[in-house]
Structure formats: C-alpha cells, structure tokens
Symmetry: C2
Subunit: 378 residues, 2 copies
Amino acid sequence: MKFQIQRDRLVNGVNDVMKAVSSRTTIPILTGIKIMAHEEGITLTGSDSDISIEYFIPKEEDGKEIVDIQQPGGIVLQAKFFESIVKKLPMDTVEIEVHSHLQTVIRSGKSEFNLNGLDVSEYPHLPQIEEESVLRIATNLLKTMIRQTVFAVSTSETRPILTGVNWHIENGDLNCVATDSHRLAMRKAPISGGTGELRKAVIPGKSLNELNKILDDNSDELEIVITESQILFRAKHVLFFSRLLEGNYPDTSRLVPSDSKTTLTVGGKEFLQAIDRASLLAREDRNNVVKLSITADGSVELSSNTPEIGKAVEEVPCETIEGDDLNISFSAKYMMDALKVLEGAETNIQFTGAMRPFVLRPTGDDSILQLITPVRTY
Amino acid sequence: MKFQIQRDRLVNGVNDVMKAVSSRTTIPILTGIKIMAHEEGITLTGSDSDISIEYFIPKEEDGKEIVDIQQPGGIVLQAKFFESIVKKLPMDTVEIEVHSHLQTVIRSGKSEFNLNGLDVSEYPHLPQIEEESVLRIATNLLKTMIRQTVFAVSTSETRPILTGVNWHIENGDLNCVATDSHRLAMRKAPISGGTGELRKAVIPGKSLNELNKILDDNSDELEIVITESQILFRAKHVLFFSRLLEGNYPDTSRLVPSDSKTTLTVGGKEFLQAIDRASLLAREDRNNVVKLSITADGSVELSSNTPEIGKAVEEVPCETIEGDDLNISFSAKYMMDALKVLEGAETNIQFTGAMRPFVLRPTGDDSILQLITPVRTY
C-alpha cells in the first residue's frame, strides 16, 4: 500500500473514526485504525465492536485531487499514535507506505515515522446490513431529537434496556423516548422512507452521543437502516453502525398523566435561571432538591434550605397560574436538564399533585414532552 | 452592615480574592470571604494564610456610583456559596445586609438568599508590612518574567526551597531563577525604586502562579515591598501578600557552563514543533526522552524509538551549526517548556558534551537563559 493524501482530510477522517476506538477493548486489534487504499480512495475504520465507524475519503472532489494512490492495499495502525502523528505533521501532504513485515512509513516534509502495523485481514468485519427499507431524515433534526432525549437514559446497568433510547417508527413518525425511571424525555417528528410498518429499536445512549459528535449540523438528508440487531446511519462520507439493545422496552405511554390539577406557564429561560439559583443552597447529598410552592394569591416561589449554610428564595415570574395550591419538591438537576432541551421556549407545566409525576411541554407544541417524578420530603 | 453594589464589580472582586481561598484549610474561617463596608467603599479579603488577597471597590469611580453604603460594618461569608450566588444573581445591582445573629441577606431582583455569616473579628489580620523601600515594575513585564521562570520550580517537597523562585535585586536589576535540579530558568530585567542595596526573596511558585492569574496584562506600574518573611504586590485595586520561603537558595551561578563545544542556531517555533513530533514515539516511562545527533556533514537529527510501537526521525532545520559532532539525549518535556517561554525567537543552543548541561538563549539576548541537564542513555 502506498498513497499521498491531503493532511487536513486525513485528520478529519481520523477524528471521526476515533470516536469508535476504545483503549479498553478485549480485542487488541480494535485499538487500531484500519486504513484501506483502493480504486475510489481511502477508507478508514474504527470500532469497539458496539459502535463501528467507516469514513471514506474520495480520490478527488470538486475536480481537486485529495488522494494519489500508487499502490492499493491495507494496514491497521495503533490509533492513539497514528492520531497524534497525523495531527502534528508539518506539511499539507502526507505519504503513507507499507513495507515488508507490515512496517509502515508515514512521511511529511522532513518528518518520518515508522510504525509497526497489524495485518488488515485480522480486523473484524463490519456488520452486514440488508437494505430492505431505508428511512430518511434531515441531519440537524435528528441531532436535535437525540439531544432532547438521550440525556434522560439511565446510567445504571441495573436495567440495561433503560440505558438506550427507544425508537418507535410508525405511519411516517419517529418517536424517541428515554427514561431512567425517575424522569422521561419524549420527542417525535416526521420521518420519510420506510414501509409504513411498525419498526422498533432501542439504541444505546452512548452510540447516540458519539453519533451526535460526528454529524455536521446541516439539513442534508441522513439515511437510516434498522435490522434485528443493528442500526446504520449513512451520511455523505460516513457510515455509523451501532448494535441495538436486546429485550423489551417498558410501555411508557401510560406514565404520562392525562389530567392536571395545577398548571403554570413560565418563560423557559427565566425559570431555568431561577431554578439554578434556588438550587445553590440545596443539600448536595439530596440531589439538589428544591421546593416549589403555589399559593392562593397567585404567587409562585422556589426555595431551598441547608440549615448550616442558609436558604434561598426565588419568586417565579409566571405568565399564567391555574388550579389548586401546591407544595412540591423535585430534583433541580432533572428540572434544569428538561428546561435546557426546551431551549428557552415558553413552557407549560402540568401538575397532578405533590406525589405524582408532572409534565413540561413548550406551549402549543405536542412534539416534545418532559416528565419528572417529584421527590418526597419530610 | 448594609450596602448596594454593582454586581459586575462585586463579581470581579470575588473572582480575584477566591484565588487565595482554599477549601482545605485548618483554620475554618479562612473558607470564607471577609467583606468590609466603610467610608471609602467595600474591601474583600481572601486568604489561605500563605497567600492573602485584598480587593478594594471604591464608592465611586469616574463620577459613577458603584457602591451605596447605608451602614458600615463587616461580615465573613462562606466563599464557595457566596461566589456562586453573586455570579448567578439576576439583576445588575445587589443588596447585602447583615441582620441580628450574623444572618446576612443577599438580594437582587426577586432572588433572596440568607447566609449564616461568621464574626469578622475572628478573621486573621493581614501581614503588617513596613514600607521602607518600594520597588516598581511594569505589570506586563513582571507577568512575563514570572511565566518565563516559575514553570521550572520543583514540585517535590524533598528540598522545599526549590519550590520557590529566587529573586535577587541589586543595582536596579531584578534577577529571577528557578530550578528543580534537572533544569534551570533565569530571567533578568531592570526594576526601579528600592535603595540599590541587595535584596533577596524566595517566593513560592504557587504564589507567583496565583498572582499571574490576577494581574491584568497592561503596562501599569506595580509596587512591590519585600520584608524578611513577606512580599507585597500592590496593583490599582488589589493587594497581594505572600509569605516567603525560609532558608538559603543554592548558588546557581556556577551551574551555567561558560565554554561550549557545539553550537546550534534554530528557529524556536520550528524546533519546538520538531521536538513535539519526535517525542511522540518516546517511551512514556522515560520522561519522553528524545535523542539529538549532530554529524560531520552538518545534518542535525532528532529521534525517538519504542521498539513495540515504532520510531520517529526528524531532520532539524538549523540556521547555523558549529563545533564537534554530538549525540545527546534529553527530556522532550523540559526542552518544550524552555522553547515555549522563548516564544518562537531564533534560539542559540550551546552544548559542552553529551553529559554536561546545555544552555538555550534567544540569539543576542542575555536577559533570559534556559539550562537543561541531559539524560544518560544506555
């Protein structure tokens, strides 16, 4: 294998595939990046066997040469070293050549690196995906949907299925739900393609976080293929594979209360800042619990108290207050997480009592919902 | 005590005095910030008993009111909580009022915080400094001198005196030296004021690092007073006190070789980048040792080698090479630290053999010197 390549393109590709490479792997060759030089260009692959990323660098683009392939072939190079080398090379062009015994020379200007390569035939194959049904969605919309749900997945392995986001595709709608059993985040939006039949997938939260880092924030269409055990995301130069979580995701539809006894409408940004301040004197060992009080005269107050330090009181600016008086306590962190993904929009909060989960929605928008279970205080 | 104050001025002051506050202190009241309201304005104080910082906020500046004092007095408030509260308050103005039993109310818009205060009379007094002799230097010059020397102090407590920078003021010159016994950094520059007599001080590296964070990068004159056990830096609104290290600093003047057998002149920036790359394949457990080879035909090469991974070779771009052939190994980290503070200037490197310390200086500039001891390789 021998080729010259534009360094910035190589750096971009390495940055992306590194998202799948883990230094803690039981399969030693997966600490490497697979580099293949072929007729059409260069393909880089990284994988931790849960996530696999393939990045393609074409020989030329818009009439400009990016790669000059003198001899096709392949090699696997230690990802950590290869990454730091290509980032620091002095010139705009890099030459990579494999000699005998897998010895690989990386050359740029007056810098020369010799790396011991690994045999490309020992690198695991990527999942085989049968493209029976391709879904399509704008990249920036998918990024938003991921961001609005993935934070709510469970970080505990007690119920592994809850570490994923539940995707449910039916009648042209993608519905994403995540819950750690204390709070729940839901977002839905139209998706095109597919057969219209029900498709389900529980995607590991970690995979969605890494995918979100790689995808550019543009409106280009992204293709998605779901199989029994894998999901594939296909962007312009990148293929992103993730395994799916096995097992049945719990039915979350009945968790959302349909009635409401007290309703607030608040400015999302001001309410977020007030919660942030009110939580400053909340006890750290109790997950920063703040108390919200709604009284008959129409005032709403947030407060927290740590006897040895002091207390905080915030009067909440509300657009509208309707319904019964209420004293309710909840995790300031959960509330702030939910308000952050509502992005400062005017927010409607529906309570059905101090011990029942409550629901946040942007006013007049049913495509997104955040549910939080209150904390019992004594 | 009761006053209203512009929030941004209070935040600036709290940021500065927080640099001296440690959460790990044996004197509980030092986890607090002392706030004094008096005729002229507000004084904030933070201290960990090694470093003390006093910040003054005047009642008015340039004809604009900054503080409105309704009742003079003082209080000590928990630094960590006070800092996060004032940073997040909603309005441009803050009111602080001390009630009975040291209960302190912080109010801004519809936010109200009650903090349990501590008695200001229990807060330790700042060091008393007799102003017999005041030195003066431009703030940005002092910041540069600190940056060019403090990185070389020892981080080990085996020889505590080496954790400080040795200041030596004589005949209108300030001479700063730091060494961890493997490398040495020296910088000198003129300083005004003082009596012309010899003054010495060994200032803890930690103090100089904190001082550097607080000082603005401008050419305003800074006043310095040195006593037996303390040093005081006085800027426009800030007093910075540090204790001095006790004991005799070793005589470093004889460490710098006066002769030279091989001399290189290199572009500082290009050489730094070449060292950085050459060190990528240096063994981590050997402090990233790289080898420099100068051969008869005038070529200079940097290299590193880790058999299980691979090797790196860099041809070094030199302006001039003079003297004997040489093979020498050194810590890439020490070399990069030294080259960074020389700020990319054309650099002269003088070697006196593979086992002797070598010296880096900007070409034609004797005010700064970096000395590095080579590493013996087998």
